[in-house]
Every structure is written in structure tokens, then in C-alpha cells.
């Protein structure tokens, strides 16, 4: 449909703020690149597990920030503030429930996502580094669970943390030092709760945000892996590198392609 002059004017007006932003930041182009990048034709619902995990993490961030507005991380007030959040404050039960159950959802989705990546072979060259980043994200997520578990400061939280710290203490050589660092001393004391709170809501989430950013950057740079039953083998990048062999696995997988669309040429180097 040819654009009328009126329509063109409206579009120009709408584009003025976007053009202003793009000229000064390049963010519009970057967003377009992110949203409209190529993905394999055979992506399926299993490919959404990564986004689902990210969504669960964002839910934890948002609800955690809100809970921090009412929670008091010292031994004399912690449990009372949790009771107040759950029983007295409007909708507090909901937000705390989202955070509490969302924590489990986050960990479960992490493992499902990890299983998808493993079963689809998506950890192979050139994506090994992204698997390693994912492993560190998993470790930090479990550390989030460990540190968050103490915060209600009830009997379950206290003794579970006693046992958890003492399990850490049994690591050879470093164990006693890890345990003393976590407890801030030889026994769980007045500083332990605040220390766990700081780790839980500042240090580990910051590290997680950084790692997830790197993880997403590599996903965008390296492209999405097609499922193993794909028929798309032998893809290549026809235009951008002048017909040279494409980097394996980019956008379209390149298990055997020689860059000219020929598939199945024998390897001569072995």
C-alpha cells in the first residue's frame, strides 16, 4: 500500500524521538538487532526455557527489592518482620510467596534449561564458554538459595544453616576458613544474619546480573542452536565473509559445509 503524504508525516513525527535516541546512543539499532536476529527455523518450545529462567530471575529481583523495604535483618527483629510481612501488611503474603516459591521455580527452570542445552548438544563448539558461564550462574543461584534460607530466622532456617555451614566446613583445607567467613566467627552470631542478607541481596545478585549479561551477549553473538533432528545441516554465511568457511554453528549449523554450499566433503587432515 503506497504511503499517503499524511501517513508519511505521522511516521516522521513518531520517528523524531527514536531518531534522536539512535543518533546519540545507537540503542534503537541495537534493540532491532536483538529482536530481529536470525534464529533457526526449527526452534521449539524447549528453546524458551532460557527466557523462562531469566523471567523467574527478574521476578526474584523485583519481589526481593520490595521485600527488602519491610524486612529487618537483625536477630531480634527478623522473624517479627517476616510475620508482619506475611500476616499484617496488605499483599505481603503474596509478594513473599512469590519470592519463596519463585526461588524454587528459578532453580527448577535452571536445571530444565541446562538439560535442554545438554540434550541438544548446544554446549559444543563454539558455545563451551557459555556453558561455563551457565555453570557459574547455577552455582550462584544455589548460593542465593542457601543465603536466603536463613533470613526468616526461624528454627528451620537456623538449624538448616548450621548444618549447611558445617557441610562447607568439611571441605579439605579451605573448609574451616569458609565456615568462619560465612558465620563471621566460630559460631553463628549477631553478624551472621546481616552477612547473609548482604550476600543474598547485594553481592550475589550483582554477580548474577553480570554473568547473565555475558551469557545473553554470547547467545546473541553465537546464535541459537537448532535441535539435533534439524535438516538444516551445511549452512554457511554466504555474503558476509566472501564464501570462506563459516564459523561452525553460527545461526545455521555448519557441521560439514565448506562454505560453498557443498556438504559432506571428506576431511583430509586425519
Amino acid at each position: 500500500m503506497p504511503k499517503t503524504k499524511r501517513r508519511q508525516q505521522v511516521e516522521d513525527v513518531a520517528m523524531v524521538p527514536l531518531d534522536w535516541l539512535e543518533e546519540r546512543s545507537g540503542l534503537v539499532g541495537a534493540t532491532k538487532y536483538f529482536l530481529f536476529r536470525k534464529v533457526p527455523a526449527e526452534t521449539n518450545w524447549f528453546h524458551t526455557l532460557g527466557s523462562a529462567t531469566l523471567t523467574a530471575f527478574i521476578v526474584q529481583l523485583v519481589t526481593g527489592v520490595i521485600l527488602a523495604m519491610y524486612y529487618k535483618p537483625d536477630p531480634e527483629n527478623a522473624y517479627a518482620s517476616i510475620e508482619r510481612i506475611t500476616n499484617d501488611l496488605t499483599l505481603g503474603w503474596l509478594v513473599r510467596g512469590m519470592h519463596r516459591w519463585g526461588a524454587s521455580v528459578f532453580i527448577i527452570l535452571l536445571f530444565l534449561h541446562m538439560g535442554r542445552v545438554f540434550l541438544f548438544g548446544a554446549y559444543k563448539y563454539p558455545r563451551e564458554l557459555n556453558w561455563l558461564l551457565g555453570v557459574f550462574i547455577l552455582l550462584l543461584a544455589m548460593l542465593e538459595g542457601f543465603t536466603g534460607y536463613l533470613l526468616p530466622w526461624d528454627q528451620t532456617a537456623y538449624w538448616a544453616t548450621v548444618v549447611g555451614i558445617n557441610i562447607n566446613a568439611n571441605a579439605p583445607i579451605a573448609g574451616p576458613f569458609i565456615a568462619d567467613f560465612l558465620r563471621s566467627g566460630t559460631e553463628i552470631g549477631v553478624d551472621t544474619l546481616a552477612r547473609f542478607y548482604s550476600l543474598h541481596m547485594l553481592l550475589i545478585p550483582g554477580a548474577l546480573i553480570g554473568l547473565i549479561t555475558l551469557h545473553l551477549y554470547l547467545v546473541i553473538r553465537l546464535g541459537v542452536t537448532p535441535p539435533p533432528w534439524t535438516e538444516q545441516a551445511g549452512g554457511y554465511e554466504p555474503t558476509e565473509n566472501g564464501g570462506k568457511p563459516a564459523r561452525a554453528g553460527l545461526v545455521n549449523p555448519t557441521p560439514r559445509g565448506n562454505g560453498n554450499g557443498e556438504v559432506g566433503r571428506e576431511r583430509v587432515d586425519r
Binding site: G175, D180, F181, I188
Partner: protein
């Protein structure tokens, strides 16, 4: 392209950076606004003058700023000639160029600032956990409360100025009477399970408690008659000397040093025990620095934990 040397065609000017024309407009406008605000406080005429300046300057500023949009030619572009780099390319004796020096200076100063800021912060994060680890002596009250050959559960505050939630500890105390050389003897066993730190319970009936006041806070005393100790978490079991009889624990229960001051039982530093030989006043054991539950203090496995903070 934008970095070609010749001036672009008139139709391609939009690819050039939009440098605002040099104008006094914004400054005069800001001055006018400041005068208005000042005048609102001191006098109306000043505000009126400021308003006039602001309106005139704002009009001039807008006229300059919208020059391009209205299709008028822009003012003269800022002229700068950057060809001094060419001179640096000449062959010459080896020298230490400015950019290498600046690179090194930036990295060096940045690293120095990073170290100066980071090391104290990291030290503050880590070191307090490893300093001041001494145990305060705890007064458990007069010796009358500990009749001979009778187990007493004593619940006390290990640190007097901490809230009871975090510093309440329990010790199982038994007055053994006198040793062979006439000294008073107590068995003082910590209730911290040496598997993973849960509180062990006496296996036997416990009588109603009574509370006595000491300088360190109230101490709750309960008579009991256990035939051993058991842990509810993972089923660790100990006999009345604290030796492991079943379950996952790796050593005997920790014990406390003690002293008797003016007729009162005073709890000292806890210590770890591998195994206790003998019973009651005749018990013999080797005392190790207190370590976390689950860690061996003797045998081959002790080499897993060569350093104890």
C-alpha cells in the same frame, strides 16, 4: 562516508555531527531564570527584569537552535586542523612516546587506587571473622546446684551482651566427685553434635527446670538422668562420656574446660576430643583446639584440615 576529507554534498549534511551554534543564548536564558527566582524573594522589579531577559534570550536561543530545521544555512563549522600526527610518523631514534607513558600511567595509577581502596574493604569483609575468637568464661552458679554423680543440663548465654537468640548454648554437666588426688572433677559436654552441629538431646527423663541469675545472665538448670546422648537430625548417638556409639559423627562430643571460682562453677574454653578413655573422674583424653563439627582431629583424616583458624 562521513570520514572522507572533502566537505560532503549539501544533501548529505545530516550525517555530520550536529554541533550547536556558538551562542550566548543559553547563558543569558539561565541568568534570566536565576534573576526571576531571586526577584521572587527580594523584589518584583528584579523578577520583571529577569523575566524580560529570559524571554528575549530564550527567543534568540530558539532561533539559533532551530536554524537547521527551518532550512537556513548553519553558522561556520568549527575549524580544526588535525595533521600533527603526521609529523610523529618520521623515523627517529628510539624514544618513549607520550601515549605509552600515558597508558602505563593510567594502568599504574588505576591499579594503585584499586589496591588502596579494595584491600582494606576486603580485609574488613574477611578479617573480623578470624579475630577475637576467644570464648568468654561463663558463670554457671554455685556448686550446690551440681550434686555429686548427677547430670545437670545448663542452658546459658555464651556472650553476655548478645541477644539470647544467637548466643544461647547448652552444656551437660556432671559432678564426678573428687579425683584420686583430691581435686574436684566435672564432666562438661557440649550439646553440639560433632556430625553437623545439631543440638544433641539426653536420652532419659528430664526434670522441671529452675533458673538462677548470674552476672552473665540467667542460667537454666535441669536435672536429668541420661544413658547417652542422641542427635535428632541424622541419628548420631553417644554414650555418657560423649564417645560415639552409632551414626555419622566422626569423633567424641566436644567438652569445656572449667574452673571453680569462689564456690561457683565457671565454664572456660571448649575443646575437641577424639575419644575418651575411662569414665567420670578417671576419664583420660587428649584435648585439641575446638574445630567445626564433622572434622577429624586425629587419624589420617585430620590431614584434610592442616590449618585451623
Amino acid at each position: 562516508m562521513a570520514d572522507e576529507p572533502e566537505r560532503p554534498e549539501p544533501g548529505r549534511e545530516e550525517h555530520e555531527p550536529h554541533v550547536p551554534a556558538s551562542t550566548i543564548g543559553p547563558f543569558a536564558f539561565a541568568l534570566g531564570i536565576a534573576l526571576v527566582l531571586l526577584g521572587l524573594i527580594v523584589s518584583w522589579p528584579v523578577a520583571a527584569v529577569g523575566g524580560g531577559i529570559a524571554v528575549i534570550a530564550g527567543f534568540l536561543w530558539m532561533r539559533d537552535a532551530t536554524r537547521e530545521l527551518r532550512g537556513l544555512p548553519e553558522g561556520p563549522p568549527p575549524s580544526r586542523t588535525i595533521d600533527e600526527d603526521e609529523a610523529d610518523e618520521e623515523e627517529g631514534p628510539a624514544r618513549y612516546p607520550r601515549n605509552v607513558f600515558l597508558e602505563g600511567a593510567t594502568l599504574g595509577i588505576g591499579a594503585a587506587i584499586g589496591v588502596v581502596v579494595t584491600l582494606p574493604a576486603l580485609g574488613f569483609m574477611v578479617l573480623p571473622a578470624f579475630t577475637g575468637q576467644e570464648y568468654d568464661p561463663v558463670d554457671l552458679g554455685p556448686l550446690d546446684n551440681f550434686p555429686a554423680d548427677q547430670w545437670v543440663i545448663a542452658k546459658f548465654k555464651s556472650v553476655s551482651d548478645e541477644p539470647p537468640d544467637v548466643s544461647r548454648r547448652t552444656v551437660f554437666a556432671r559432678n564426678n566427685g573428687e579425683t584420686q588426688d583430691g581435686q574436684p572433677s566435672f564432666t562438661l559436654i557440649s550439646n553440639r553434635c560433632v556430625h553437623l552441629g545439631c543440638p544433641v538431646q539426653p536420652q532419659g527423663l528430664t526434670e522441671e527446670g529452675r533458673t538462677i541469675d548470674t552476672e552473665g545472665g540467667p542460667v537454666e538448670l535441669l536435672n536429668t538422668a541420661p544413658n547417652g546422648f542422641g542427635c535428632p537430625c541424622h541419628g548420631g548417638a553417644y554414650d555418657t562420656e560423649g564417645n560415639r556409639t552409632a551414626g555419622p559423627p566422626v569423633r567424641a562430643l566436644d567438652r569445656y574446660e572449667y574452673s571453680i571460682v569462689e564456690g561457683r562453677l565457671v565454664l572456660g574454653t571448649p575443646f575437641s576430643v577424639a575419644e575418651v578413655q575411662g569414665t567420670g573422674a578417671d576419664a583420660v583424653m587428649e584435648a585439641y583446639k575446638v574445630v567445626d563439627p564433622g572434622q577429624h582431629v586425629d587419624g589420617l583424616e585430620a590431614y584434610f584440615y592442616p590449618y585451623v583458624p
